[in-house]
């Protein structure tokens, strides 16, 4: 081994440029670049922050609780704090950048928590993982919003869930809970939302969703009913317990069916009614109540007990609705006094009015307004005489003061009223009975019995069997008298006179002058004088005929009887003759002849003339009676004439012996006839009075 080391090349150490950076420095620079790059990337990829307010935290944890959309995490709660004044919990959520643009005003947020209900268990995963916030928004990009108010419950219609959105109106005491199912043949085809009480408080509104695939099951003639709980029915088939499912037993539910075909497609937002039972739902198909009822207010002046909620409202006898509510109303400003009036709220079903075309509440209201302008009024009427229940009737009142169907301050249109019929219905029935009770039936019967007795006695009397021969001669004389020329001339002069009297009286009446009246009366007197002298031969008979005819023309039964009496009196005189006794059959002949004679007279026109004349005379006499004071004179004169006639007839009377029985008989007949006459008069004047009591 040598001491000298081997010759190795020896180089001076390379001079290092200290200020020059070593290649190693690339590493920290790279690291720095990477760090900066990552930082920038993560910053730029960071989405915006939104703030959602909730009533309570419900387990939201900063940094843990996720925001999910369709069960995919799209954000995370970064901080949980309070709003100003500690009123709400505010969760600030960092949302993913690509989702953020869709979170606009349509977004809804709610906290998903485990929930155990009759319909099942939801949100079970949150038991382990903790709650999360579910968001729902539509697929359109809207203006960015970063403050939201969280919903208390999940909305009925989730994102991506399509279906028919309808609403239910219910007044029943159903046990509908939120999220109760809508069943169809036992299969869930939809879901109820949250029930809310309508603003007026008279029914509940529940929104509901029919899933898209079952949309076609519902149309406009579909009826829904409450299948909550169970029903127990005991019938001929034994006891039956019926419930749709355990879920509806506990949580309530709605089921439906379309009982009739021909329903049309419905739009979102259609309102259906929930009927308490299937039967009612089925019945309701036929009075389609898809249209909202119109509500009217009616204020009745009289408070009559008997009107109840649910009482029918009738228009022309047709049930168009019912009484919805009853209350009293006191309004001094409106009515002028402080009386309590009956305020009834009517619910009118537009479909029942039978309007042509599409039935809407507006059109029905227009129709009613038009009818009210034409006199349609509401009134109370008896629904039943037995129970005393009342109904509201709408009737057209002719000539009613103009009124309009106008809305009052509380919003309901007020229907004008008319006089109620209910109050006097019972009264009229009572009146009928009272009047029937007051009829002189017993009197009538007594009179009738007396008449019968007297008639019997009269017919049975021997005197009647002996009709005097003189009857015939009398008749002959009458015949001859009547057929004489002078009689034929009577009507002419009489007519002329009376027409003069009539015109005169008319003038008198027109001018109202006493002097003229006196003159006219003087004229009448002189005319009457002339009249009485011109028929010197038979004045009495003429007068009598005149009186009889006058009375006959008045068609009064009593006068007829009087005439009968007079005639009979004459007949009595005849009956008394011995010839009459011998010749009973000749009476008929004589009367036949008289009849024939009178017929001849009539045919000859004389009678007609006489009738006309007498009618004129009667008119004249009526006029005179109204205006003249001198009537008694004429009457006196007529009486004297009549007396003369009586005496003339007495001249024919040989015996002047009237049997007592005949006289009584005649009186009885007269009395009976009087009674009959008055009854007939009453009946004739107003045939309805017997029944109506008016």
């Amino acid at each position: 081994m040598t001491d000298t080391p081997p010759d190795v090349p020896i180089k001076s150490a390379r001079k290092i440029f200290l200020s020059g950076a070593s290649i190693v420095w690339i590493i920290p620079f790279l690291a720095l670049l990477i760090a900066l790059g990552v930082a920038w990337q993560s910053y730029s990829a960071r989405g915006p922050q939104i703030f959602v307010e909730f009533e309570n935290g419900a387990g939201i944890k900063a940094g843990e609780t996720e925001l999910r959309f369709r069960d995919v995490t799209v954000g995370r709660v970064e901080a949980v704090g309070f709003s100003q004044g500690l009123g709400k919990v505010v969760a600030s959520i960092r949302v993913d950048k690509d989702v953020a643009p869709y979170i606009d005003n349509s977004a809804a947020f709610w906290i998903v928590q485990p929930e155990v209900s009759a319909q099942g268990i939801t949100g079970l995963s949150t038991v382990l993982s903790g709650v999360y916030i579910e968001g729902s928004w539509n697929d359109e990009i809207g203006p960015f919003a970063n403050r939201f108010s969280g919903a208390e419950n999940a909305p009925l219609i989730r994102t991506g869930q399509k279906g028919l959105q309808i609403a239910f109106r219910t007044v029943g005491n159903g046990q509908l809970t939120d999220n109760a199912p809508i069943l169809y043949r036992g299969i869930e085809v939809g879901r109820l939302g949250k029930a809310e009480i309508a603003p007026r408080g008279n029914f509940a509104i529940v929104e509901a969703l029919i899933y898209e695939e079952h949309r076609n099951l519902v149309n406009s003639s579909t009826r829904f009913w409450d299948s909550s709980g169970f029903s127990v029915s005991i019938g001929p088939g034994g006891a039956e317990i019926d419930f749709e499912s355990i879920a509806t037993l506990i949580g309530g539910g709605v089921t439906f069916d379309t009982f009739v075909s021909g329903g049309s497609r419905i739009q979102d937002g259609t309102v259906f009614e929930i009927y308490p039972t299937k039967e009612q739902a089925r019945n309701a198909v036929f009075n389609s109540s898809a249209v909202d009822p119109i509500e009217l207010s009616v204020i009745f002046d009289e408070n009559i007990s008997g009107l109840a909620v649910g009482a029918v409202v009738e228009l022309s006898g047709l049930n168009i609705g019912q009484v919805e509510a009853l209350s009293g109303i006191v309004d001094y400003n409106q009515f002028g006094d402080s009386r309590v009036r009956l305020n009834a709220t009517l619910s009118i079903q537009p479909a029942r009015l039978g309007l042509p075309g599409e039935v809407t509440a507006e059109r029905a209201l227009e129709f009613l307004q038009d009818r009210v302008a034409n006199g349609l009024r509401a009134r109370l009427a008896n629904a039943s005489l037995l129970t005393g229940g009342l109904k509201v009737e709408m009737v057209v009142v002719e000539g009613a003061p103009f009124a309009r169907l106008e809305a009052a301050s509380d919003g309901l249109p007020v229907m004008p009223t008319t006089k109620n019929e209910a109050s006097d219905a019972t009264a009229s029935v009572e009146g009928v009975f009272t009047r029937i009770n007051n009829l002189p039936i017993e009197e009538l019967l007594n009179s009738a019995i007396g008449l019968m007795n007297s008639a019997q006695a009269f017919i049975g009397s021997d005197e009647l069997q002996q009709t005097p021969k003189d009857v015939r001669t009398l008749i002959n004389e009458v015949t001859g008298l009547v057929s004489s020329d002078s009689v034929q001339n009577i009507p002419v002069s009489l007519n002329a006179t009376l027409s003069r009297v009539e015109t005169l009286v008319a003038t008198l009446e027109e001018q109202q002058l006493a002097k003229r009246l006196m003159d006219a009366l003087d004229g009448v007197s002189s005319a009457a004088d002339g009249f009485s002298t011109s028929i010197e031969g038979v004045p009495e008979l003429i007068t009598e005929v005149q009186a009889v005819a006058a009375k006959a023309s008045a068609l009064e039964l009593q006068e007829l009887v009087d005439e009968l009496t007079a005639l009979t009196r004459s007949a009595e005189a005849v009956i008394d003759t011995p010839e009459a006794v011998a010749l009973p059959g000749s009476l008929k002949n004589a009367l036949d002849e008289l009849n024939y004679t009178l017929q001849e007279l009539r045919e000859g026109g004389a009678v007609e003339n006489v009738n006309q004349t007498l009618a004129s005379a009667r008119n004249a006499a009526d006029n005179i009676a109204v205006s003249a004071q001198d009537l008694p004179e004429i009457i006196d004169r007529l009486s004297s004439l009549f007396d003369q006639a009586s005496r003339t007839i007495e001249g024919y009377d040989e015996g002047d012996k009237i049997t007592r029985s005949a006289q009584e008989t005649m009186r009885d007949i007269q009395k009976a006839a009087d009674a009959l006459a008055s009854l007939a008069k009453t009946i004739e004047r107003n045939p309805n009075s017997l029944l109506l009591g008016r």
Partner: protein
Amino acid sequence: MVGMELSGTPQKILSARQMGLVACTRCTKAWPMGTQICGRCGHKMVSRDYGSLQRVWAFWVVGLMCYIPANIYPMLRTKTLFQNDESTIVGGAVELAHHGAFGVAAIILVASVVIPLAKFWAIAFLAISVKTRRMASNSARHFMYEVVEYIGRWSMIDIFVVAILSSLVQLKTLATINPGPASMFFALSVIFTMLSAQAFDSRMIWDDRSGNGDSTHND
């Protein structure tokens, strides 16, 4: 060479460099100054690797950069049936301390926080002390260097724990442990500090720093 002298005497110690020699760092054979390749093992030889300081600082910086996210991000992701835990190093230690496990908390704190920080400080101190006037005795600095080099690998104990837990506890939904992002950064940090410590040329500790300004430039 040094051992020849009587120990304990405050005699001036000559370095190989002062004697005109350069030692091979691989096979430790001394060669005359200026030799560039070791004649025995072929290793490249420099008497004083002044470029090492730059490497030290470069790795030191990267290590420190990695140490920051290692402490910010979660180290472990523990998913159990009921909850999902993500804990950072310090957070985990504090949590353990809350539960009363002070010992474990102390171990974690020492292994994951104190030692790495001390390493950063020690390397920086050594690197600075080479350039400046005496701050501590040469032997003390050398001891410090040896400790740093020895202890550096033990910092990986955290990473081992994470790796073992992650591979063992994979019980599907019941319980799962996954390494968090911090574990990677922590491992990187440890690696870079070790690289930094290795890059340090410990021979520089013995150079007389009084006149080092000239000598470094001339030799």
